[in-house]
């Protein structure tokens, strides 16, 4: 196995399993629909809340997508093969996260214009929303991968993983929604984007190593 052949195969697997990706996107839309129906459909409520609603839905959808990222590899023995491949496990894990991130986040970005219009997000802050998604979402995937690798041996690991990982997502949600809100109120928001970027970079350093430790402990 080489890094490139692994990357290619991972991509191919996700393309063949496109229903999983579509499910995550549908889940995202469904959560968003809950808010106008459950709280209020009026623009007075939705416009200031739009950034928050989108980010809450985003966090849940990403968690659902990541939860099972190692499951099949664990069951079919691929995870063991990665460990014994002689290649760097953190790097392999990082490649896997990268593939998943691109497959989930790109369609999300394409859906954003429609969804933010439906939630009356002010036009001026749309690009800030896109920016928060781009710099913030990598950390969600990176942190989530650790939880996913730790709970992969469980048959019903989703709830546990949500419980363990969600608190770690809070700062990302706070800064991302804060940046969108700041943009809506005409305040500077670049500092908040920098915070998001810093969190993503920190998780980029820590997560592959920690996920590799978790994978090794799980295939034990």
């Amino acid at each position: 196995m080489t890094y490139f052949s692994y990357f290619k195969a991972e991509f191919l697997v996700l393309l063949r399993r496109k229903q999983d990706v579509i499910n995550a996107l549908l889940f995202f839309i469904t959560v968003i629909v809950l808010f106008p129906l459950g709280v209020s459909p009026s623009p007075i409520f939705l416009a200031p809340a739009a950034g928050g609603i989108i980010w809450c839905a985003l966090v849940l959808a990403i968690l659902m997508a990541i939860e099972s990222m190692f499951k099949e590899d664990y069951n079919d023995g691929s995870l063991e093969q990665l460990v014994v491949s002689g290649l760097s496990l953190p790097l392999l894990v990082l490649l896997k996260i990268l593939v998943l991130w691109s497959v989930i986040v790109i369609p999300l970005l394409l859906m954003l214009p429609l969804l933010s219009a439906m939630l009356y997000l002010p036009e001026g802050s749309f690009w800030v929303l896109v920016a928060t998604l781009l710099v913030g979402s990598p950390s969600l995937f990176l942190i989530g991968a650790i939880g996913s690798a730790l709970t992969v041996s469980l048959k019903q690991g989703a709830m546990l993983m949500l419980l363990v990982i969600l608190p770690f997502y809070l700062p990302v949600v706070v800064f991302a929604t804060g940046a969108i809100k700041a943009a809506q109120e005409g305040l500077p928001y670049s500092g908040l984007l920098a915070m998001l970027l810093a969190i993503s970079l920190l998780s980029l350093v820590l997560s592959p190593v920690m996920t590799a430790i978790s994978v090794k402990a799980s295939v034990n």
């Binding site: 709970t151 041996s153 546990l160 608190p167 770690f168 700062p171 706070v174």
Partner: protein, 248 residues
């Protein structure tokens, strides 16, 4: 400097025998301090000129909140020690202390809420401190949940250690984000967190009860660790000797 003590700490047997006689005295001494501090604080300390008697809950609230944070700090350190040096005692420590920390965080939350009612007029305010203690409580519950759910003990130990370390790295970020978020959203709420300078008769009992609670928790933690050691090392001959010698 000799590192022998550090390596000895890693041996459950050495730890058990060394701390066997410590738990009870620590716990009793702590209880005495705690009771002294509480009785002094609740009954004899002067009344606050702004808040009347309701401030007295700090004699429970502050020690609990301090312990909640200290326990988490120690979990993170233990997790790090386990991941780097694979010290056998570290997961036992995490196992033993996480529930205590969770109880402390819960006590801090509940006493905070009780304090909030007469002073803020509401049980709960999305104040930065309250929120971050709530998140701390959730982190504790996550560690406990992952320890209890994973059946493979090696995996469970590693998972709890990883989450503890991760939490320790994340705690300042969470705290900062919540504080920042709070100033953005809640600028108008009461800020009671700035306490007026206290007279000695007020802070002395507080200090005593803080020390007392620390000692109580240390005693409890030792007890819990000792029983985990016996459980985990039940195949070792020294454990058999220990149990048979004491019990049968």
């Amino acid at each position: 400097m000799s590192w022998a003590w550090f390596h000895k700490l890693g041996s459950p047997r050495w730890f058990f025998l060394w701390t066997k006689s410590w738990a009870l005295p620590l716990f009793c001494l702590g209880m005495v301090c705690l009771l002294l501090g509480l009785v002094w604080g609740l009954a004899f300390a002067p009344t606050d000129y702004q808040q009347g008697n309701s401030y007295r809950i700090i004699y429970i609230h502050v020690p609990a909140a301090l312990l909640a944070q200290s326990c988490y700090l120690s979990l993170g350190i233990a997790g790090f020690v386990f991941l780097v040096w694979r010290m056998k005692m570290a997961p036992i420590f995490i196992n033993a202390v996480a529930p205590i920390g969770a109880v402390m965080a819960l006590m801090a939350l509940v006493s905070g809420a009780i304090w909030g009612k007469p002073t803020w007029g509401t049980w709960w305010v999305w104040d930065a401190r309250l929120t971050s203690v709530l998140v701390l409580f959730l982190l504790y519950m996550g560690i406990i949940a992952i320890q209890n759910t994973l059946e493979d003990i090696v995996l469970a130990d590693k998972a709890a250690a990883l989450i503890s370390v991760l939490g320790l790295i994340n705690l300042p970020i969470i705290k900062y984000s919540v504080e920042w978020w709070n100033t953005l959203h809640q600028a108008a709420t009461f800020t009671l967190t700035e306490k007026p300078a206290m007279p000695v008769e007020m802070w002395m009992p507080l200090l005593i009860s803080v020390i007392g609670l620390y000692l109580v928790v240390a005693g409890l933690a030792l007890w819990r660790m000792q029983s985990y050691i016996l459980e985990r090392e039940h195949r070792a001959s020294w454990v058999k000797q220990e149990v048979v010698g004491d019990g049968l």
